[in-house]
Amino acid sequence: MSKPSDLVQGTLDMLILKILALEPLNGWALSQRLKQISSEVLGVSDGSLYPALHKLERRGWIRAHWKASENNRRAKFYSLTGLGRKQLEKETANWNRVSAAISGIIALEEA
C-alpha cells in the first residue's frame, strides 16, 4: 500500500477544507462529495480520507460534533473552524499561485 504523493496529500487537505467550508458534512457524505466533485480523477481512496480528517481535527482546522444524519442515525459531522478558514484561504492563494506558474510553464512548452 503506497501513500498518496505529497502533492496529492496536500491537495486532499485543501479539498476537504473547501468542501467543508460550504457546509458541515459527515465522513460518508464527504467521501461521496469528493468523488462527485473531483470526478474521481484524483483517485482519493476512502482509506486516506479518514486519517486526513483526523489529522485536520488534530491541527484545529476542523472540529467534529455528533448529530443525526439524513437517515436519522448518529453520525460525526465535521465543520470548519476559524483557523481552518484562514488555512483554506492561505492554501487557495498558494494553489492559485503555483498552478498559474505551472500553467505558464506548460504554455511556454507548447508555444
Partner: protein
C-alpha cells in the same frame, strides 16, 4: 506551531489524552458507519450482500489499517503509543535475555554507584540530620584566629553575645559532642552524647516523644541541672522501652542525672559521624569536659555551635554582621579576644565534625561515579548499536510498512528507557544496600561504630530519575542515530562485508571504545595515585614508634574516682605494670598523638621573646607522665624526661619540641629558661624531637609537654612499650587492674600503628572506593573492547578468509586483530593521559607527597591498561586466526 494553532488544537489533543478509549470508539463507529453506507450503496448497485461487504472493505483499504492510520494521524494517542512501544520493547528485551541482562547489569553498576554517592553526599554533607527542620538555612558557627586558616572552638560568653546580637539569625545553638561511660566493670559501655544549649530542641524543631525538653536557664550555673534526654535507641535497648522512664536516674560519668525525656525514633542528633545517644545541658559541662567551670570564662574555647539564618538571608550578609559583632567583642575583651573572630560555614563544610574529613573523598567520588556512568552508558550504547545493526532488517520493514522515522526513534528511546529504568531501579536497590558501606570502611573508635548513613530522600530520588533520563537519551540516541542510514530500498542489499579496521559505521563503535578506554585510564591513574599516597602516609614516620607500643585507658571518672584516689590508682598500676615481664616501659598521657581527642591549647609567654603587637602566641600541649618519651620512642635532644618527683608539690616544669625552640628561642638550648603556661611560670627541663600530633599531613608545629601530675586528668591514655603480643599484654593488664579494683574494665587496646592507620582512614576510604570503581571501569572497558573486536571479526570473516587464501598465516591474522585493538587502546590512553594530566589535581588534599603527574603512576596505569586490552583482544584474535578460508569463501 504558533500559539493560535496550538490553542485550536487543544480540544482534540485534550480529548485524545483524557478519553483515549472514547475517541478510539468514536473513530471506529465512524468507520463502521461509512462501511454500512457503502454496503447499502453497493447493494443498490446490484451486488449480493456478501459481495457488497467485501467490496466496501476493499474500497476502504482494510479496516484495522485505516484505524491505525487515524490513530497515527491524531498523534494524541501518546499514551497508547507508549504502551505499545513499552510492550514491544519488553518483548524485544526478553527475546535476547543475555544481551538485556548484560545491559541492565552495566547500567545498574553505573547508576547504582551514582545513587550511592548521591545518598552519601546527602546523608553526610547536605541533609545530614534526619527529622531536623530547615537544614538548608543552617550554618556551622566557629571561632577563627587572625592569620590562622582553620576553625576553632567558641567560648560560651562569646556564643551568648552573638546569639543576643545577631539580627539576621533566627536562632543560634550549641551542640558539642561528648562521651560517657555508662557502666563500669567488664561491660564498660561507651555512649556518645551532646552538650547543648537549653534552646537546642526548639531551634532544631525536634521534640521528645516522652517527657520534656530543656527549660530556659537549664544551661546556666555550675553542674546545677543534672538532667538528660536520651535517644530512642538507648530507651529501647537499655531501658527496654520503659514507659515510666521519665524521672528515673542514670549515672553519667558517675554523676546521677534525672532522665527528663526520650527523643523520637530516627533522630540521631547533630554530629556527622556519630549517632548521639544522650543530651545534657551546657550547665553540666564540668562533668563531661576537662578544664573546670567554663561558662563564664571567655578565654575557654570549647563549644561547637550552629546558627539558623532567617529565610532569605545570604551567608555573606550574615557573615558580615557576625564579623562586626566579633570585632566589637575583640575591642571590649582584648585580653581574651585579641586576634579572634567568628565565622560561619555551610553544613557541608562544617569544620568540626566528620563531614569535613569525607568532603574531599566525596567530591572525588562524584567525579569518579560520573565517569563510571559514562563508561557504562558507552558500553550499553555499544551493545545496542551492535544489536541495531542486527535489527536493521526489522527497522527497514517497519519503515516500509509506513512507520515514520520519528516513530522508530521513539521506539528506540522507549527501549532505552526500559533498560535505564530497570537499571535505575536495581541501582537504587544497590545504593540502599550500600547506605552503611562508608561506615564499614571506617574503623571503630574505642569500641563504638561510627554512624554515617546514606540518605535516600526525595532529592536523591529526583537526582536518580534525572540520571535515568540522561542515560535513556545517551543509550537510546546512539542506535537512533543509526536510523539515518536506513533506507527502504536498501533492505535487500546484502550487509556490506566488513573489513577489520574498516571505516564508515565502525567509527562510532570505535569512538565509544576509545571514550571508555580513556575514562577508565583516568580512573586507573587516580586509583594508583591514591594508593601511592596511602603507601607514603603509612610508611612515613610519625616521629614515634608505632609497632611495639600499645595504648588503652581505664575509665576512672565513670567509676567515681576523685583526683586523690585516681593519683594513687595510677601510681600503683604503673608500678605493677613495670614489673610485668615483657613490658619495657609505660607512661600515662592525657592524649596519645593521632588519636581521637584534641589537644589543649594555651596562650604562652616566653622569657626573652617579644611577640609583635598583633601576635598572641597560642601553643598546643599535652600532659604526660614519667617515661612518656622513652615509651613512645621520641628522642630527647637535651635535658631530661619528667620524673615522678615532678608532681603537684614540685616546681612547674615543661618539655618543648624542636620547632618551638626554633620559633621562640631562636634555636638556642632553652633548658633552664622560663615559659609561662596558663598564667604560671614553668621551667623548661628538656627538648624533644618534633613528631606528628593531630594528623599525618600536618607540618611541624610548636608543641610542649607538662607533667600529668601538674595538670591532672583522671582519664589519661595508658601507653605501654612491650615485646609481648597485644592479647598477652591485655590479659596481663586486666589482671593487674582487677587486682587493684575488681569493678574496673579497660578501654579498647590498640597498637599505635592501628591508631595511625585510623587517623588516615579518610585516605583508605578514598583508595578503596576509587580502586573498586577503577577496577569496575577497567572491566567495563575490557568488555567494550572485546565486544567491538569480536563483532569486527565476526563481520569480516570473508576478508579474513580471503587474506588467508592469499597466503596470510594465522600469526598474521592474530597480529592484524590485536594491532587494531591496540590502536584503539592507544588512542584511548592518549586521550586519557591528556585528560588525566588535567584532572588528577582534583585529588588535591587526598594526595600525600605524590605529584598528581607522577610518571611512575602513569606508567603503571598504562601497563595495566595495555594488559587488559591484550586480554580483551586475544579471544577475538584467536577466533580470527582459526578462520577456515575454504568454508568462508564458499559461503
Amino acid at each position: 506551531m504558533d500559539i493560535e494553532q496550538w490553542l485550536y488544537s487543544l480540544p482534540a489533543r485534550g480529548r485524545s489524552f483524557l478519553h483515549p478509549g472514547q475517541v478510539d470508539q468514536e473513530m471506529k463507529e465512524e468507520l463502521r458507519e461509512h462501511l454500512e453506507e457503502q454496503i447499502k450503496e453497493n447493494v443498490r448497485q446490484g451486488m449480493t450482500p456478501d459481495e457488497a461487504r467485501r467490496s466496501a472493505v476493499r474500497m476502504l483499504g482494510g479496516i484495522t489499517q485505516v484505524e491505525q492510520q487515524c490513530r497515527d494521524a491524531r498523534g494524541g494517542s501518546l499514551g497508547a503509543d507508549l504502551v505499545q512501544d513499552l510492550g514491544y520493547g519488553v518483548r524485544q528485551l526478553l527475546r535476547s535475555p543475555g544481551f538485556s541482562a548484560l545491559a541492565i547489569l552495566c547500567l545498574t553498576l553505573g547508576i547504582g554507584a551514582n545513587a550511592a554517592v548521591f545518598s552519601w553526599a546527602e546523608g553526610i554533607l547536605f541533609r545530614p540530620y534526619p527529622l531536623v527542620a530547615h537544614q538548608e538555612r543552617w550554618f556551622a558557627l566557629a571561632g577563627t584566629a587572625r592569620g590562622g586558616s582553620g576553625a576553632e572552638d567558641l567560648s560560651w560568653p562569646d556564643f551568648e553575645d552573638l546569639r543576643r546580637n545577631c539580627s539576621l539569625c533566627e536562632d543560634a545553638f550549641v551542640s558539642k559532642i561528648t562521651g560517657s561511660t555508662l557502666s563500669v566493670g567488664d561491660h564498660a559501655e561507651r555512649a556518645s552524647g551532646s552538650i547543648v544549649s537549653a534552646n537546642y530542641f526548639d531551634a532544631i524543631g525536634v521534640h521528645p516523644i516522652l517527657g520534656r525538653g530543656f527549660g530556659p536557664g537549664e544551661d546556666s550555673g555550675s553542674d546545677s541541672h543534672p538532667v538528660v534526654l536520651i535517644s530512642y535507641q538507648m530507651w529501647r535497648d537499655r531501658y527496654k522501652g520503659d514507659r515510666d522512664i521519665v524521672g528515673k536516674v542514670q549515672r553519667f560519668n558517675n554523676v546521677p542525672h534525672t532522665i527528663i525525656g526520650v527523643m523520637p525514633e530516627g533522630f540521631y542528633g547533630t554530629f556527622v559521624g556519630w549517632a548521639i545517644q544522650f543530651w545534657v545541658p551546657a550547665s553540666m559541662e564540668e562533668t563531661f569536659e576537662s578544664g573546670g567551670y567554663k561558662l563564664e570564662d571567655r578565654g575557654a574555647r570549647w563549644i561547637e555551635a550552629y546558627v539558623t539564618l532567617k529565610p532569605g538571608v545570604r551567608q555573606s550578609q550574615a557573615q558580615q554582621e557576625i564579623s562586626a559583632i566579633a570585632a566589637r567583642l575583640e575591642k571590649t575583651y582584648p585580653a581574651t579576644n585579641r586576634g579572634r573572630s567568628l565565622g560561619i560555614w555551610p553544613l557541608w563544610q562544617t569544620p568540626f565534625n566528620h563531614a569535613g574529613d569525607l568532603l574531599p573523598t566525596l567530591e572525588v567520588m562524584v567525579t569518579v561515579v560520573g565517569f563510571v556512568l559514562l563508561i557504562s552508558c558507552a558500553n550499553v550504547g555499544n551493545l545496542l548499536l551492535v544489536r541495531s545493526l542486527a535489527r536493521r532488517h526489522e527497522m527497514n520493514v517497519r519503515l516500509a510498512m509506513g512507520a515514520t522515522r520519528v516513530r522508530l526513534v521513539k521506539q528506540l528511546l522507549t527501549e532505552g528507557l526500559i533498560l535505564s529504568a530497570l537499571g535505575t531501579a536495581a541501582g537504587l536497590l544497590v545504593a540502599y544496600w550500600c547506605r552503611y558501606a562508608l561506615v564499614l570502611l571506617l574503623p571503630t573508635r574505642s569500641g563504638m561504630t561510627m554512624y554515617l548513613p546514606g540518605q535516600m530522600d526525595a532529592r536523591v530520588m529526583a537526582m536518580s530519575a534525572a540520571v535515568c533520563l540522561l542515560v535513556t537519551l545517551m543509550v537510546g540516541i546512539i542506535p537512533a542515530f543509526e536510523t539515518r542510514h536506513l533506507d527502504v530500498a536498501g533492505t535487500l542489499k546484502a550487509d556490506a562485508c566488513g573489513v577489520v579496521g574498516a571505516r564508515g559505521r565502525a567509527w562510532m563503535r570505535s569512538g565509544l571504545v576509545i571514550v571508555q578506554v580513556s575514562l577508565s585510564f583516568i580512573l586507573l591513574v587516580g586509583a594508583a595515585l591514591l594508593l601511592e599516597s596511602l603507601e607514603k602516609i603509612r610508611s612515613t614516620s610519625p616521629g614515634f614508634t608505632t609497632t611495639s607500643v600499645v595504648t588503652t585507658g581505664v575509665p576512672l571518672v565513670a567509676a567515681g574516682y576523685d583526683n586523690p584516689r585516681a593519683r594513687i590508682f595510677q601510681d600503683e598500676l604503673m608500678d605493677r605494670l613495670r614489673a610485668l615481664p615483657g613490658v619495657e616501659s609505660a607512661a600515662f598521657a592525657r592524649i596519645t598523638p593521632l588519636g581521637y581527642g584534641t589537644f589543649s591549647e594555651t596562650p604562652i609567654v616566653v622569657d626573652g621573646y617579644q611577640p609583635s603587637l598583633e601576635e598572641k602566641p597560642y601553643v598546643e600541649y599535652n600532659q604526660v607522665g614519667p617515661q612518656y618519651f622513652a615509651t613512645l620512642g621520641i628522642p630527647l635532644s637535651s635535658g631530661r624526661e619528667f620524673a615522678r618527683a615532678d608532681d603537684e608539690n614540685a616546681p612547674l616544669v615543661a618539655i618543648v619540641n624542636r620547632t618551638m625552640v626554633t620559633r621562640y628561642w631562636a634555636g638556642a638550648d632553652p633548658v633552664g629558661r622560663r615559659l609561662q603556661v596558663k598564667g604560671r611560670w614553668a621551667r623548661v627541663v628538656g627538648v624533644v624531637a618534633d613528631s606528628k600530633y593531630e594528623s599525618m599531613r600536618e607540618t611541624p608545629m610548636p608543641f610542649f609537654y607538662v607533667p600529668l601530675r601538674q595538670d591532672f586528668v583522671r582519664d589519661p591514655a595508658l601507653n605501654i612499650r612491650t615485646t609481648q603480643s597485644l592479647a598477652t599484654i591485655r590479659a596481663a593488664l586486666v589482671r593487674e587492674v582487677h587486682a587493684l579494683d575488681g569493678n574496673l574494665g579497660l578501654y579498647e587496646m590498640i597498637t599505635l600503628q592501628e591508631q595511625v592507620n585510623r587517623s588516615t582512614s579518610a585516605q583508605l576510604v578514598a583508595v578503596t572506593l576509587v580502586s573498586i570503581l577503577g577496577g569496575l571501569a577497567l572491566l567495563l572497558a575490557g568488555i567494550g573492547l572485546y565486544g567491538v573486536m569480536s563483532y569486527a571479526v565476526a563481520q569480516s570473516t570473508r576478508e579474513l578468509g580471503l587474506r588467508m587464501a592469499l597466503g596470510a598465516g594465522a600469526a598474521n591474522l592474530l597480529q592484524l586483530v590485536v594491532s587494531r585493538g591496540l590502536r584503539l587502546t592507544a588512542a584511548g590512553v592518549f586521550l586519557g593521559t591528556a585528560a588525566a594530566l588535567a584532572v588528577t589535581r582534583l585529588l588535591g588534599e587526598l594526595l600525600f607527597q605524590v605529584s598528581p603527574h607522577d610518571p611512575v603512576v602513569f606508567g603503571v596505569a598504562l601497563a595495566v591498561m595495555i594488559t587488559t586490552a591484550l586480554l580483551a583482544c586475544l579471544l577475538p584474535a584467536w577466533r580470527a586466526s582459526r578462520t577456515d578460508p575454504a568454508r568462508v569463501l564458499r559461503d
